[in-house]
């Protein structure tokens, strides 16, 4: 108990226990790693639906005449292509091409944007954003006042639709609706986005309303098999879908091009942005190392930090993420390895507890919804 007191809590902390949540220290946050069990929760999201508390995520409002050009200088994707009520996945880089964070940019209105950043990076990102302010913009870190729930899975829309008059079928992927009322709770931003590889929504609302919404959603979804889910399932789901995790697959040491999210790096966008020249050069010359999907064929599970060696025994990289895939029942991972080995079908070895275990480069995502 004494250690938990020092951890940050989301507004839902009190509710976890009621649903059997097992709380762990996740980067300084007291968050549930699981409720009924990671495998059960994982399966619920793939086949029915799951509900996640992701209120630890950070939110920064950017408002002002120069908001668009400022954000466009900060991030690698092209914000000018966004229309109001559209969201975009993007990265923020250091001048050397390493990644400050990966994030979502929501265009709330002309001259008004919401940036959604990783929990562990809130202070670092906010400092970085303030240091690079250009033109007439104001920044506001609203992370503490903002809660976020994610309802994910093939039945997410059916469940959420029961509680709102807003026609959810009109919200396409990476679009959102604002000031939505869900179960009598007003002013919710409902976005068709997620981190699981399934269809679903992320809901942003005032922190003091989230406990009520959590209960309403679980109640509404009980018929469809909606389950409360923890961070454990969130991690296995995102990994099967090959969605990058900051601090593992992408970091200050790993550029977005190396991490295989080159689709968010618009080196051809007209205006300048931080690391544009470095990333353009990486793209032109080709990166020296690349993030690939691997499958371990021998007995063992790849884990973050394990060494990867070639058939000849040379060290060629390391595992960034790995797990036993609950959907595929295979031992899978992502590894950052020398580009010459980054070809599907290449045999490799992963050093698991000092033993080289047979693995192979495979196509990722490992899982794509049908």
């Amino acid at each position: 108990m004494s250690t938990e007191a020092a951890l940050k809590q989301t507004p839902l902390f009190e509710v976890y226990e009621k649903y059997g949540g097992k709380v762990i220290d996740f980067g300084g946050w007291a968050l549930p790693v699981q409720f009924s069990g990671i495998l059960e929760e994982h399966a619920a999201v793939r086949t029915e639906a799951g509900l996640f508390d992701v209120s630890h995520m950070g939110e920064v409002l950017v408002v002002g005449k120069d908001a668009e050009s400022y954000i466009n200088y900060l991030v690698t994707n092209d914000v000018t292509t966004l229309e109001v009520n559209q969201a975009q996945y993007t990265a923020m880089c250091y001048p050397d091409g390493g990644t400050v964070d990966d994030l979502l940019v929501y265009k709330l209105a002309n001259q008004k944007y919401l940036l959604v950043i990783n929990a562990a990076n809130i202070e670092k990102d906010y400092d970085w954003m303030r240091q690079h302010v250009k033109g007439e913009v104001t920044l506001q870190n609203i992370s503490d006042d903002t809660a976020q729930l994610a309802i994910q899975g093939p039945k997410a829309e059916t469940i959420l639709q029961k509680l709102t008059e807003t026609d959810l079928s009109e919200i396409r992927p990476f679009e959102f609706a604002q000031q939505v009322t869900v179960s009598g709770i007003a002013n919710i931003l409902v976005s068709r986005t997620g981190y699981t590889g399934e269809d679903g929504f992320e809901l942003y609302l005032a922190a003091d309303q989230v406990a009520a919404l959590w209960e309403k959603l679980l109640e509404a979804g009980s018929e469809e098999g909606l389950k409360p889910c923890g961070l454990g399932a969130r991690d296995t789901l995102r990994l099967e879908a090959r969605l990058a995790l900051y601090g593992q697959d992408i970091s200050s040491e790993i550029s977005p091009l190396e991490a295989g999210i080159g689709f968010v790096v618009k080196t051809k966008k007209e205006s300048d942005f931080i690391a544009k020249d470095v990333l353009a050069a990486q793209r032109k010359e080709g990166v020296k190392r690349k993030l690939v999907g691997i499958e371990v064929i021998g007995r063992g599970i790849p884990r973050h930090g394990y060494k990867v060696v070639s058939e000849g025994g040379d060290e060629i990289g390391f595992v960034t993420s790995g797990t036993q895939s609950p959907t595929l029942k295979k031992s899978i991972g992502l590894a950052l390895i020398s580009t010459e080995y980054a070809v599907v079908g290449t045999p490799l070895k992963v050093e698991i507890r000092n033993k080289p275990i047979e693995a192979i480069v495979v196509k990722a995502p490992f899982y794509k919804r049908g």
């Binding site: 790693v33 699981q34 069990g37 991690d235 007995r299 063992g300 884990r303 507890r353």
Partner: protein, 131 residues
């Protein structure tokens, strides 16, 4: 607790020990341990004929999230391992005291049994940890 577990001895690393014939013992992990680990997806047991020493890490249990070592509470020679766990590691979650056992040992130093806890002592030990 059922009476099936009444004869078991326990280590502080949450292994249980069942005495079989002579110096032979069967070792597994406790219900408390499997509950704490969560869904178990991989088990690496020691090899048959391996000579192992008390408190040594002799294998690995992985849940979806975490890697944990198996510590042997006793010294001896590994005479049998539970092959069921190779394809069905979740057996440990389902039946930690029965079908989910880990390995069997021919003890080289049976006096080490005295270092272990009985069921009541183990219950007290795990309750302590939760406060």
């Amino acid at each position: 607790m059922t009476k099936a577990t009444a004869n078991l001895l326990y280590s502080k690393e949450h292994e249980w020990v069942l005495q079989l014939d002579g110096n032979r013992v069967r070792i597994g992990i406790s219900d408390f341990a499997q509950e704490a680990l969560g869904d178990i997806v991989f088990v690496e047991n020691p090899e048959i004929d391996a000579e192992i020493s008390a408190n040594e890490a002799v294998g690995t249990i992985e849940s979806v999230k975490a890697v944990s070592e198996i510590f042997t509470p006793l010294s001896g020679t590994v005479v049998s391992v539970n092959d069921v766990l190779e394809d069905a590691p979740e057996t440990i979650n389902e039946e930690p005291f029965e079908a989910g056992w880990l390995f069997e040992l021919e003890m080289s130093n049976p006096e080490e049994l005295e270092t272990l806890m009985n069921e009541d002592q183990y219950q007290a030990f795990t309750n302590e940890g939760e406060n």
